[in-house]
């Protein structure tokens, strides 16, 4: 597999605290990689290291098969990025802001109008950014990241501050960029739902550790229906079920077991009745991806 981004044991320590811990991020070419994790899990720190803004405490970063430590400038020529809150010069107009970056990137002036058009800011081209709404500033940041026609786009919470229609716009833009120009995109978020519809691959981190990294389809498989049972004396029933060698756990008043064949379920119910448990409900329950995400990040177990 050809990886556009590949980190090995990437670690960043602030004093005693490991903000990022032995992270192996792999992003194949052309994928939209959803980089997920709750607040403070180390997403921004990882992204800062990928862009050479922070030096890793240990571990290596390869982008486009090149060592970031040695080829930083060559690599950055092919990357567009947006880190945390948008960076802009309030006293300059939207055009002038992009012109500041354009000069450094050395791309033709026409690109400025082109990217402003893409993020639908053409009408405020010559307005000072000071008066922009948060969403407009965010879109200006995205426009800036597209100036150099990047092969790899790194966006840290790009939908921050956008309204629902703005979020959908950005989502469609990402999809379009990935499909039309074959861009590889890394997009971080603390909400799975935000990238669920566009990501082809997901990495889930919590407390600096990678808990899950695989295709979106693999994550979806985890959301296959479970069987939920509501039974009298649930604790005893749970012990009973587990003693039968069936995986089970107890949440929200229900005992959950993985999907089994009809016969197996019938057999279990029969056994429970035989042992004088009262069965109130037997339901097939589909877990939402968000539930799975929460579960993964809360339990911190490797899936």
């Amino acid at each position: 597999m050809e990886y556009v981004v590949e980190t090995k044991n990437l670690t960043k320590q602030f004093g005693e605290q490991k903000a990022v811990s032995s992270l192996n991020v792999t992003i194949p070419r052309g994928e939209i990689y959803g980089f997920l994790g709750p607040n403070g899990s180390g997403k921004t720190t990882t992204i800062r290291m990928l862009l050479g803004l922070m030096k890793p405490t240990s571990g290596t970063i390869h982008v486009f098969h090149k060592d970031l430590k040695k080829d930083r400038i060559h690599i950055l020529k092919r990357i567009g990025s947006l880190v945390e809150n948008p960076s802009y010069y309030p006293h300059l107009t939207a055009y002038e802001n992009l012109e500041v970056w354009r000069k450094i990137l050395g791309v033709p002036k026409e690109k400025i109008h082109e990217v402003l058009q893409i993020v639908q800011l053409s009408e405020v081209t010559n307005k000072k950014v000071k008066g922009f709404s948060l969403g407009m500033k965010q879109r200006l940041g995205i426009a800036a990241s597209l100036l150099n026609d990047p092969e790899l786009l790194i966006l840290d919470e790009p939908t921050n501050g956008l309204d629902p229609s703005g979020i959908i716009e950005i989502r469609n833009l990402m999809k379009q960029l990935a499909s039309e120009s074959g861009m590889t995109i890394l997009i971080s978020s603390h909400l799975l739902s935000e990238v669920e519809q566009i990501a082809t691959r997901v990495g889930i981190i919590s407390k600096g550790k990678m808990l899950f990294q695989d295709s979106m389809d693999k994550l979806r498989e985890l959301s296959k229906p479970n069987i939920a049972l509501r039974i009298s004396d649930a604790k005893k029933a749970l012990r009973f079920i587990v003693s039968k060698g069936i995986e089970a756990d107890y949440r929200d008043d229900h005992i959950f077991i993985p999907n089994h064949s009809d016969e197996d379920v019938a057999e279990l119910v029969q056994q429970l009745v035989y042992h004088n448990f009262l069965i109130y409900r037997v339901e097939g329950k589909k877990r939402s991806l968000e539930d799975i995400f929460l579960q993964i990040t809360q339990e911190e177990r490797l899936v």
Binding site: R48, L51, G52, L53, M54, K55, I73, H74, L76, K77, I79, S81, V83, E84, N85, P86, S87, Y88, Y89, P90, H91, L92, E96, E99, V100, W101, K103, I104, L105, G106, A144
Partner: protein, 238 residues
Amino acid sequence: MNKELLSSELLKIKRKGFWLLTVLGPFGVVALQMMNYAYRKEYLLKQSTNDWEYYILNVSGFTPFALVLGMVILTSFLTSIENETNTWKKLISLPVSKASVYITKFTLLASLLFLSSVLLMLFTLLYGIFLDFNGEILHVTLFQYSFYPYFASLPVLALQLWISTVSKNQAVPITIGVIGVILVLTNSYSPFPDWIIWKWPSLMNQWDKPIINVVLGIIVGCLIYIVGMLDFIRRDVK
């Protein structure tokens, strides 16, 4: 340093009053003498036999103060442009080396202040001609007192840039800047030991050779510049 980076820096300082300050500084220094000579020209002319020399010395009395104050203000303005919405992270994630970013900032500041020194010479000369002194215009003295303080204060500029770019809290460079300005002011009443860099712009030293301050200014300025740049490169971006 590259041309594109410098031209993007020039775009950033638009509408921020940099050019105004660059002109206002030297104008202010000469304007003080305009008032001085307007009110008591007769008295001042009696103070010495060489009117041009006396006039240039009068002007130069305020040059170190204006220069160091200008360095503190311009440096603080320039870094505040990047600190305001933390554009450092955007700037450094572009294909530029941190060294070239640092050298461009230094070059811009040094150029603006050099321009101020050129204007100082020009304003001094013009008002001197207007005053219509007896005797020759002292071109060499005029040149020395316009440009020597500039070179002698380069260490202060290098230090201010270093502290401003690496400090998380901008109160630090401003405090050090204000202390520096106060040192420059007090130095004219009771001179400090020669090793204090804030004394150097006054061109005073125990050997009475202003050129020593110029040479020291350039050497120590370069050293502080290099240390500051290496520190800037070494640190993680804010």
